[in-house]
Symmetry: C2
Subunit: 327 residues, 2 copies
Amino acid sequence: MAAGEFDIIREVFAPLAEGAAGAFDLTDDAALLGGDMVVTKDLMVEGVHFLKADPLDLVARKLVRVNLSDLAAKGARPTGYFLGCVWPATVKLADIRKFAEGLAADQAFFRIRLYGGDTTRHGAAGAPLVLSATFFGTPSRPGFLRRAGAAAGDDLYVTGTIGDAGLGLDALRGAAKFAAADKEFLARRYRLPEPRLTIGGALPGLASAAIDVSDGLVADAGHLADLSGLRADIDAASIPLSEAARGWLDRQGEKSSAYGRIATAGDDYEILFTAPQSGRRAVEMAAKLSKTTVARIGHMTRGSGVRLNGPDGEAIALGAGGFDHFA
Amino acid sequence: MAAGEFDIIREVFAPLAEGAAGAFDLTDDAALLGGDMVVTKDLMVEGVHFLKADPLDLVARKLVRVNLSDLAAKGARPTGYFLGCVWPATVKLADIRKFAEGLAADQAFFRIRLYGGDTTRHGAAGAPLVLSATFFGTPSRPGFLRRAGAAAGDDLYVTGTIGDAGLGLDALRGAAKFAAADKEFLARRYRLPEPRLTIGGALPGLASAAIDVSDGLVADAGHLADLSGLRADIDAASIPLSEAARGWLDRQGEKSSAYGRIATAGDDYEILFTAPQSGRRAVEMAAKLSKTTVARIGHMTRGSGVRLNGPDGEAIALGAGGFDHFA
């Protein structure tokens, strides 16, 4: 099937949300219900969003964290969640207990609770673990931060570091070689995202638009740009890299394509946001207070799509532009 | 694995809901959030909750209706939902459109809207369609109707007819023979439940406890009895049957085991509820006003578990007692 997740949502599902207040025509990853409840739902499928070999407590924590990342990008504070599990036919009670240990750990860490859900099992042997979570949060006082809203001239920022999770997946699959410590770091970044809730909570009123980076920096910058009716210009050399990713980049011969790989790898779960140039001091302060690194990586301009400028100023060719968990 | 869905929820997941207001230790199928929002989440898996050959528009409508049935048993009025789909790797856009047609039809019928969700695809060939929905509703004025709350001596009622969906599944699988019209009726009862929202909305303040019958009459009566600390006594001859199910029963030689089959088949999606004997006139009135048939099928008494009394007064042996979508 040629259609990607976003085409299907726009063409097939968005009409079903017509007239639903707070659903924003499904252009955002979360809805605002009753004006005071932010709700988001993310699925994870074995073999697509995590590996069969991933420890189940970490899978549980990733499920929590990818959903919290959606809330973080809205500036919302999480409160609790509903959980749906479809276990393989051969699941053992010990597996489910291990999974629940991960949930318990992150529930305590993020101070959230389980509200309810559904748990079932596949009928057929070999069918993969499917996880679903619906997370609830309260919006921060200045409101709900959307993907649309950036203005031409706004700066473009991203939290943390980019590309680690994609390299971690390569490392776990044996598609790229790393020193043991780097491999461990990158694999952890793939398996255990860090939702940026603290700085997220400070962004409403400060940022003009925000999105969590799950499909890849370029793809998510594209969503933000499309919804704001603008183009996102990103300076590749400004993309924040971990030491492990920096080392990998230094070892690549073709720098442009290496930057392209970093900028289109999925699963970063950082926040990409825009803010007016007049807000630079405020963004620095929010970064400092929330103890979160924030890098200014480009700006918004008239036009459409995303332009990734290489270290020598040339535009890097991007191909499809992102990682689509659907296609 | 020997543990069933309810054991797993009680042992593994209920501790994760400790202290969550409105989650009722996961003993109910829905939670009451913020005092004014009823939320429920149900999964459906191909090969477990529906057949691969079932038309996708009907599968979509079943997903809507099994969730609405949970809200109906709480006396809540549905408002909208979040949807999660994991499609087979080979899905066609036409399949997704067909599915969305079913959603649109039932959204119009039940006046609900889509709020958001997530759609993705399996990585491996052959993996089954998995559907998840999180439904929202508003509680009726007298409040939220729970599974616990029945008193000894209360009457036990059920809406509609029981056993049709189980016989419909048998018919679709070729495990039982029916005349064409009966097969069509029973298959439709399996594929397209009728959530009892109208009478459900009238039950808070009238019923002492309620549950939707999804695991089978006996199993769900058992849940209600356990949570109320009582025994449910059901008179098999009082169980309301459709003409098709009555015809099937008449053709069975061993009536006790035939009643047992009816009372333990799953997927009825009727409401089982208790009410004090003094409320009989009010229950009749609610049934009349909501144009829903309601049958008095037994009563609650001291003890535990469920006793199904056969047509000659003997207790019918029940074995495991219900259909567990997990085990």
